[in-house]
Symmetry: C2
Subunit: 414 residues, 2 copies
């Protein structure tokens, strides 16, 4: 029996879950500070698992803490259709980023339960661990392990600024699961997400059909110098790792401005140094920075320039340099059939719909490597995100959630 | 009775105290990590106080933790002659910086005891609190409070990176004393110190007569921006406080290179930011930097350029800016009569002696405001300091200590 044409999510029920989530890990006014595998992340995970069990889903946790909640299909031997996102936030995050995708998936399942619709294929709802990278670098670790981009061992060894590892913290919050991840292959992956940019809101569109992502390159660079006195030590003998780091970040910011006219972005994101004290030159610094552009060729130029700037900064400060990590994402990662399904579903529902590129990193990029994947964007006010003033209203979110509902079912019922 | 012409310090006895001190707060191989008011600082303070009491000195602690140890004079109503320096180190400090001045003063007193010489004026041996500023900013806080440059309340509120205040830490290590500082006026202040620069070592001089200091300006600058996503947020809307900080540090390093030909130095010393995480733009950053030059006019230009660079960095990153603190020292601070006394004493002892400017900040600068003051420099190998490889041998230190002995007695006996 097909899904009734009138079937819609219950936006008030969904909003209740968003508001409940917004009470866990409260940060600055209106925002959240729910870092991966911290106490607040554990609290929302526990609540999410309880909600899933309440909905009759079978919950499994894998070794990197990804939470999978399965709704049986009519034919449970078929590869499942997966949907989800992440419940963790940045230290000054909002209440919607990632969260709307996980709780939106839960709302889809509750809607199907209310209607009494069982999809042909099983459904999998997922919460990915440490999407943000706001505590452990890099971002998208849970989906990275799931898709084989990162090894489990490597991921477990990622450490926060206090030296705690993801492995230790997974144990501490009791989310180091033993389950295998959902048995591959998956039939499809859908991720509903706020845009995290101003385009839909500014132009009055209700649904963004994500056709791909800005080509993005991020890197962690380490500089090694030598401590000395900030006074007498001659400039030509100095090996100031902090100065090298500052030079790289300045060059990266300049790069962003240089490409700003064509929508490019480059971010001086993080700089830590040691001793990083007045009176003494730092002998160690670590920088995290990234560049993004809609045009893959421009993005490649930016990435190459960023790398060159790192080496120039090291040379100028007479420091050693090591590129500790580099990550790339974006491009035309999503399957045409999935993009088409989302677009047609949205248009059929009568929503003002446009194609859009994602400028942020998302778990969907990793999923798309082996699984036909799609993202659905909802507007957020003025594009403000990673900020306590992030806001999407019920009106902003409802259209995209209905697209998620119908596209997931269309895929799962075929 | 005058000091016998043959009177000399006992360099082996002095070296024993240096080696004992070098066991407390051990850092990297050969170095010390003895931050102000930490456990290791408490341990060396306790030992120093015990050594002073053993030498029959009267010990007093003032409210900011400065330790004064008094040796009575023949006429104890006369203003005392003070000598000393500091026992705290940077986080990667050496075993001599400051320490040689405090323990050198103790050696002078032990030598006078051994000879049985009582000076006409009393002697005061001092250990200043938090000279380095390696934990609490700014440097030279103890001598700053003593000389009225800083108020006690303000100093007690200085906080380390963990948010602990000097006031709390003084209580914790039991060095929040009740004593008044030595009753002003002092007759004179002498500070023996390693050069912390390469000049004496390179040129083969045994004693440096410090005629003044590089004119130095240090500042703490705060930038305030706004958090946002490192991806979609347009460059022209960004208010990246970390980028502002990096721009200031880069400009300061450039300034150092620009003035390097005439011996100027500028240091990108410290940068902290929040959240300082990948994926989110930082809305707060704090920078510490300084400039120094032998020529006060060039130094003034550098200081003005540093300040301008701070405002330019803030403007470029659309951040708010606040200059939280600015400190200045150096110039011709030392009394001619004191400089002459040190020079003549050194030459009379037959030491290879040269005038020299200090490039580092010292407590003596603050003391010199109201008290005739002098500094005596000893060579250190290759000028390496604020580094675990800092090294001055007995041969490097003995001449300066003998100059300290005889100059102090000459002053105290007049």
């Amino acid at each position: 029996m097909p899904l009734p044409a009138s079937a819609r999510v219950d936006i008030e029920r969904f909003w209740t879950t968003i508001e409940r989530s917004g009470e866990i890990g409260v940060g600055r006014p209106g925002g959240l500070s729910r870092l991966a595998l911290g106490d607040a992340d554990k609290e929302i995970r526990d609540l999410f698992v309880a909600w899933c069990r309440e909905a009759g889903l079978t919950v499994r946790i894998d070794a990197i803490g990804n939470i999978f909640a399965r709704r049986a299909g009519q034919d449970d031997t078929l590869p499942p259709v997966m949907m989800g996102s992440h419940l963790d936030t940045q230290v000054n995050g909002g209440r919607f980023d990632g969260i709307a995708g996980v709780l939106g998936g839960l709302e889809v399942i509750r809607t199907l339960d209310a209607i009494g619709h069982r999809t042909r294929r099983p459904l999998e709802l997922v919460n990915w661990t440490n999407e943000e990278g706001g505590r452990f670098s890099p971002p998208m670790v849970g989906s990275g392990v799931f898709t084989g981009v990162y090894t489990l061992d490597w991921a477990q060894e990622r450490r926060d600024d206090d030296g705690k590892s993801m492995g230790e913290e997974l144990q501490r919050v009791s989310y180091a699961g033993e389950a295998q991840a959902a048995p591959p292959p998956l039939d499809a992956y859908f991720e509903f997400h706020i845009e995290q940019g101003p385009i839909l809101d500014r132009e009055g569109f209700q649904v963004g059909v994500v056709t791909g992502g800005y080509a993005s390159t991020g890197t962690i660079v380490e500089f090694r110098g030598e401590t000395a006195h900030t006074g007498p030590w001659p400039m030509e003998k100095r090996r100031n790792a902090l100065a090298a780091g500052a030079r790289l970040l300045t060059a990266v910011d300049d790069l962003g401005w240089e490409f700003a006219g064509s929508g490019g972005k480059a971010t001086a994101a993080r700089l830590v140094a040691w001793p990083n004290k007045p009176g003494i030159i730092s002998d160690w610094a670590q920088v995290t920075c990234d560049v993004r552009h809609a045009d893959p060729e421009a993005a490649a130029v930016m990435a190459e320039r960023m790398l060159r700037a790192a080496h120039e900064a090291a040379a100028r400060a007479s420091c050693g340099i090591e590129i500790l990590d580099t990550w790339r994402w974006g491009g035309k990662v999503f399957a045409e059939e999935m993009i088409g399904l989302v677009r047609e579903t949205s248009l059929a529902l009568g929503y003002r719909t446009r194609d859009i590129l994602s400028q942020a990193g998302h778990d969907a990029y990793f999923l798309a490597r082996d699984t036909p994947s799609a993202m659905i964007f909802a507007p957020c006010k003025n594009g403000i995100t990673h900020n306590n003033n992030e806001l999407s209203t019920r009106e902003d979110l409802e259209p995209g959630l209905n697209v998620l509902l119908r596209a997931v079912v269309a895929r799962a019922d075929r």
